[in-house]
């Protein structure tokens, strides 16, 4: 091990068993996202009419669905849309929320008051509900669902970015810059922003799991991915009519969603603890 690694946040992340487990799960998930269709033995949309609603077998590892499609292939291919959904929605909301939050926290005064009352109001509508409302306007589709989740996450990200900005802003190195006569652009970009990024990124890494779960829920409700897409939430929804005849149809995508969410949760918490060693594990 090199000296750079020893004592670094990466070492703390990987020596914490939960953080290590999360990292491993995410690496597996990342491989699924990257390779996707290459891991699937069959075309996920291909019908095998003779093998409908079969249990797991050597030919079909996870069994087949009501059209005789290979569930293993569908789960492998579905990783991409489900995971990317969470990541993209979180990245969008983090970017938008940080911008609003940093401006609000730095400018302060009446502008801050108004922005904060607005975020309070948006946050009074629960995330899922707000996302559903937005999709009702935009129409159900994966893209619209990503946008809806991103919008519904933005106010709380803005709150976090603002509170970090406020705490950084009152530190003496910012006072020193103001006293030197630095301009606002320098102070925001060079003094404040680098100190806001790390806590905001940690916070958003913890949210990815939640975004994935909401995305899957929207697909389940018919507001996200549309048939015949291989999407985990949609697969659970479609399998419900056949769940007593072939319970595996529900189990596989459920496990897939749960394990990826566990991975992101473990990784996010591990990252937070590794970057703030004082917070208890």
């Amino acid at each position: 091990m090199t000296d750079r690694f020893r004592g670094s946040w990466l070492e703390r992340l990987l020596t914490n068993p939960l953080g290590l487990a999360g990292t491993v799960i995410l690496l597996v998930a990342a491989a699924q996202v990257a390779l996707g269709p290459a891991l699937a033995p069959y075309d996920p949309l291909e019908f095998h009419p003779r093998n409908r609603l079969e249990g797991p077998s050597l030919a079909f590892w996870f069994g087949t669905d009501q059209f005789g499609r290979d569930v293993f292939s569908r789960v492998m291919v579905g990783a991409r849309s489900t995971i990317l959904f969470g990541v993209v929605a979180t990245v969008l909301s983090t970017a938008a929320g940080s911008l609003v939050g940093i401006v609000s926290g730095y400018v302060g005064g009446r502008i801050d008051d108004v922005i904060m009352r607005a975020t309070d109001s948006f946050m009074a509508i629960p995330n899922l509900l707000l996302a559903m409302l937005i999709i009702t306007v935009l129409g159900p589709s994966t893209t619209n669902a990503v946008l809806a989740v991103a919008v519904s996450f933005t106010p709380s990200m803005a709150r976090i970015a603002r509170s970090v900005t406020l705490s950084v802003r009152t530190r003496d190195f910012v006072h020193a810059a103001v006293a030197r006569g630095e301009g606002a652009a320098y102070i925001v970009l060079r003094e404040i922003l680098p100190n806001v990024v790390a806590p905001v990124v940690i916070e958003s890494s913890i949210r990815i799991a939640f975004a994935i779960m909401i995305g899957a829920t929207l697909s389940f409700l018919g507001l996200g991915a549309q048939p015949p897409a291989s999407d985990w939430g949609l697969m659970v929804s479609e399998a419900r009519s056949f769940m007593f005849r072939n319970p595996w149809l529900v189990v596989w995508p459920s496990l897939a969603i749960g394990s990826v969410a566990i991975g992101f949760n473990l990784f996010g918490d591990g990252l937070r603890d590794a970057l703030n060693p004082r917070v208890g594990r």
């Binding site: 939960l18 009352r117 607005a118 309070d120 109001s121 948006f122 946050m123 009074a124 509508i125 629960p126 995330n127 899922l128 509900l129 559903m132 409302l133 937005i134 009702t136 306007v137 799991a209 779960m213 909401i214 899957a216 829920t217 389940f220 409700l221 939430g233 659970v236 929804s237 419900r240 769940m243 007593f244 319970p247 529900v250 189990v251 459920s254 969603i257 749960g258 394990s259 969410a261 566990i262 949760n265 473990l266 917070v279 208890g280 594990r281």
Partner: protein, 316 residues
């Protein structure tokens, strides 16, 4: 706590609900088509459409419509559901009552189980009990409600198991036991995810509280470990936990929407999903507003509880 503080908080919520009503109104205004079109269908003649629009006041400027809707809300006239052709208010209130029962059961159960679990985990930090609770919690928070609900359905309502009804609702006056049996699985689903979340939160606040100097003072006063944990650490750890529980009510509302849908439980969530699928504007507006009001009330209650427990804040 001074009355002025209470007044201020209530006023604050009124303002937020006003803004929420505006957001909801604005979103529903963007929706393509309007009530007149919904009623007359796709092939309505333009003259008919305009006549009906005039009748509903849909040709007025948006702020007039908004004002009229708001005035209706305050006076108890919440409009008429376009699809069900019934007044919205009683529909919403009935459904809300059934949802609140579910939410109350879930919250009560969670609070009683999750907080002691979190305290236990924090006090045995790094030991087997902590690891066990931690693993269960991670699993609990990582399965969305629809997954948990569907898995419960698959394994507990199979014809050969048949422990619980797969869904639906029976009024309590009709058959109370059956009423209860319909509540079990939806409540259980909500409990699993919330319990995991709140116990993790309690644990992390407890770990934080245990590192404070006042815990050292209490220990070196010769107090037993249990007193130090409960009277000194938990008392402080509860403050942030209360806020989190209130925020979880928002989560719970989302969960209720899903759970009611999966178990065909006729609550506000299901009503709202129905309204959205059918673009029933008055119903959507009322449902969202009621949910936001519920959430805001939960947060107000948390704020007041916090204020009662934490004397440091000056509530004036």
């Amino acid at each position: 706590m001074r009355p002025a503080y209470l007044l201020k908080r209530v006023g604050f919520i009124a303002v937020i609900l006003l803004v929420v009503s505006f957001i909801v109104f604005a979103i529903t205004q963007i929706l393509p088509g309007n009530a007149a079109q919904m009623i007359l269908g796709e092939f309505a003649l333009p003259e008919q459409l305009r006549a009906l629009e005039r009748q509903f006041g849909l040709d007025d400027p948006w702020f007039v419509q908004y004002g009229r809707w708001l005035a209706g809300l305050v006076s108890g006239d919440w409009g008429t559901s376009m699809v069900m052709r019934q007044p919205v208010l009683p529909l919403v209130l009935d459904a809300l009552g059934r949802s609140l029962v579910l939410a109350a059961i879930a919250l009560a159960a969670v609070t009683c189980i999750a907080i002691p679990m979190g305290v236990l985990a924090a006090s045995r930090r790094g030991k087997a009990a902590d690891a066990g609770i931690s693993i269960v919690s991670y699993a609990g928070v990582s399965f969305p409600e629809f997954v948990t609900a569907t898995l419960l359905l698959v394994f507990l309502t199979r014809p050969e198991v048949g422990l619980f009804p797969a869904g639906g609702y029976t009024p309590p006056g009709e058959d109370f036991l059956r009423y209860l049996s319909h509540l079990v699985l939806p409540a259980l689903t909500l409990i699993i995810i919330l319990m995991a979340h709140i116990s993790r939160q309690t644990r992390s606040e407890m770990v934080d509280a245990l590192q404070h100097d006042y815990v050292r003072t209490a220990t070196l006063k010769g107090l037993p470990r249990r007193t130090v944990l409960v009277k000194h650490a938990l008392r402080n750890a509860m403050l942030p936990t209360i806020t989190v529980i209130a925020l979880d009510v928002g989560y719970l509302i989302g969960g209720i929407i899903v759970v009611e849908e999966v178990f065909a439980y006729p609550g506000l969530g299901r009503l709202l999903v129905f309204a959205m699928q059918n673009r029933d504007l008055p119903l959507i507006q009322a449902g969202v507003l009621v949910m936001a009001a519920t959430y805001a009330t939960a947060n107000l209650a948390a704020d007041l509880l916090y204020a009662a427990l934490d004397r440091r804040i000056q509530y004036d």
